[in-house]
Symmetry: C2
Subunit: 337 residues, 2 copies
């Protein structure tokens, strides 16, 4: 294990490196109030390098922390930052304007994180298993134009506009709406398998051939719900950074389905992955993910992708606060919170 002084030295190197992004030399550390000379610190640093916590970009430069060092730092001796009331107010402000849906709240939270941390934010809106179809509706909006609405119990609404070859009569419309509502109401989005849908289509088109296009659209809507999205915001913040390979970031965030899977599989409330050791994420970046829940069930996740030299001590509380608030807002029994 590291003795007390080595810990302090490593801590200083890390926090200085986070602050400046430059290699940290022994003199700077000696001046930061340790009470020992630069030479002593150099000796300790050599040991820390031996142990794999520090490395030198080149001989005549200072040291920079390794991934291992960051892990240790985050786990063990990162200073704890407690959000001020002002911090909370700012974050609350971002959430305020959101609707009480996972989608909208996550959107605002992403926004907040992207702006405040100048990093990229990944968000995953998970239509939860408990979400069922509440209503299907068709509204005429013009000559042979119809809007098809699919509303789910978690408040999400999807719509598609559809142009038919013929106008539908009021009866036909009513029939369609009733039929769909009866057959789909209360069905969980998981349960709406292609087979199930095919059956409905078959039954339907026996009645009225002209409605096939409508059915197609309903199907598309249901699909939309199923692979509900993963979105990325503020990726621009990571471009043009000398320490991060833009192309790799680009590549990472463009594989939406892998991203989605990654966010879904992340375990625990808060997960931190540092890029470089493994190849899970981009070299020289850190990714902090956190899930949000609705009544105890996963409802989405949010992830902050930034440089490895992220101000973890500050950023982590931000994320925790935001996901905590969202989870609170989403839970049905507000009174309890």
């Amino acid at each position: 294990m590291l003795d007390e002084r080595k810990k302090k030295i490593l801590g200083t190197v890390i926090s200085e490196y986070i602050r400046t992004g430059e290699p940290v030399g022994s003199k700077l550390i000696a001046d930061s109030g340790l009470g020992v000379s630069a030479a002593t610190i150099r000796n300790d640093m050599a040991v820390l390098e031996q142990l794999g916590y520090l490395e030198q970009p080149h001989t005549s430069a200072g040291r920079i922390p390794t991934y291992t060092a960051f892990s240790l730092y985050i786990d063990e001796f990162m200073p704890e930052y407690v959000l001020t009331e002002a911090d909370k107010a700012v974050l609350d402000d971002y959430l305020e304007s959101a609707e009480p849906t996972a989608e909208s709240l996550l959107e605002n939270a992403s926004h907040a994180l992207a702006e405040l941390t100048r990093c990229a934010v990944i968000r995953r809106d998970l239509v939860p298993k408990f979400s069922v179809i509440t209503k299907v509706e068709v509204v005429p909006t013009g000559k042979r134009m119809y809007v098809i609405l699919l509303i789910s119990s978690n408040g999400a609404v999807k719509n598609k506009v559809c142009r038919l070859e013929f106008d539908l009569t009021d009866e036909q419309l009513k029939f369609f709406t009733n039929y769909m509502s009866e057959n789909l109401h209360g069905i969980s989005l998981d349960e709406l398998t292609p087979e199930k849908f095919e059956k409905i289509v078959a039954a339907m088109s026996a009645y009225m051939i002209s409605m096939t296009p409508l059915l197609e659209e309903v199907k598309k809507l249901a699909d939309d719900f199923a692979d509900s999205g993963v979105a990325v915001e503020g990726e621009k913040n990571l471009l043009m950074r000398p320490d991060i390979d833009s192309a790799a970031v680009e590549n990472f965030i463009s594989h939406k389905s892998e991203l989605a899977q990654f966010l879904d599989q992340s375990f625990g409330d808060l997960q931190i992955v540092l890029g470089g050791s493994g190849e899970t994420i981009v070299q020289n970046t850190g990714l902090i993910t956190s899930k949000i829940k609705k009544n105890g069930v996963d409802a989405g996740a949010i992830g902050l992708l930034g440089p490895l030299r992220l101000d973890y001590s500050k950023v982590i509380p931000y994320i925790e606060y935001l996901t905590g608030r969202i989870t609170d807002i989403l839970s049905d029994d507000m009174e309890l919170s």
Copy 2:
């Protein structure tokens, strides 16, 4: 006026500059089949520089075209590029997956342009004056949770989720929906002034105090429609370009309302603005905008923002084709097209 040879020289300079981005020298032009020597061309180039069509970055470099030259080129001797069937197929492909609404079509068209030209695309979705409110609806989706829908006659749907303090009875819901539909149905989005809305709110809340939050949301929805958006896509394509100031682009595209105004005010079917002479847009960029119409009335616009040395001859037909197709698709009488 320019004599024939000078025109040819200027044309070659411009097209070469568009192709390579480098200053063009006399030798290259001499080799491009004009039948005169480099010296002759140098003489002509000196004249063209005098006239303000060319400039030299420094003494020992070739010439690059000025804004004036680009204007002249676009207006007078740009080669005409006729879209191949393959080109059209690609563009059609992008539009195919869109719904027949201005919003969706513009979105796909932006996508197409951004990907094919590697430029930034601005799009403006204008809820047209002829668009009226078709339906207002409130759907319960959970404990005290309601989705409010506003559907307009052009097929646009906006929705908000709203959490109330109390559950509403079926009668209350029905009452609200009926009342709103009766009072708002057929109203143009222009006509829905704050005053008009206030009157409805006043009348409503006399009936049922608990509905005020719902009304607020309806109001917000109406506002959403009114300043319906301007969106930017592919701005990333313009970053990291040595010839374009990223900060200026950033600044230009972040002023959404100015952008919107700019697109709305653009006259004619196709407008081309070159940045640099005036300060309307970003230095060293070109902006090509085109409106789309629905049954002859403005329904939106799309704009391509790229480097000044844009391949206008190719890009312009792209835009014209896309906006033409969109206008066709949007118009109610498809048979005529």
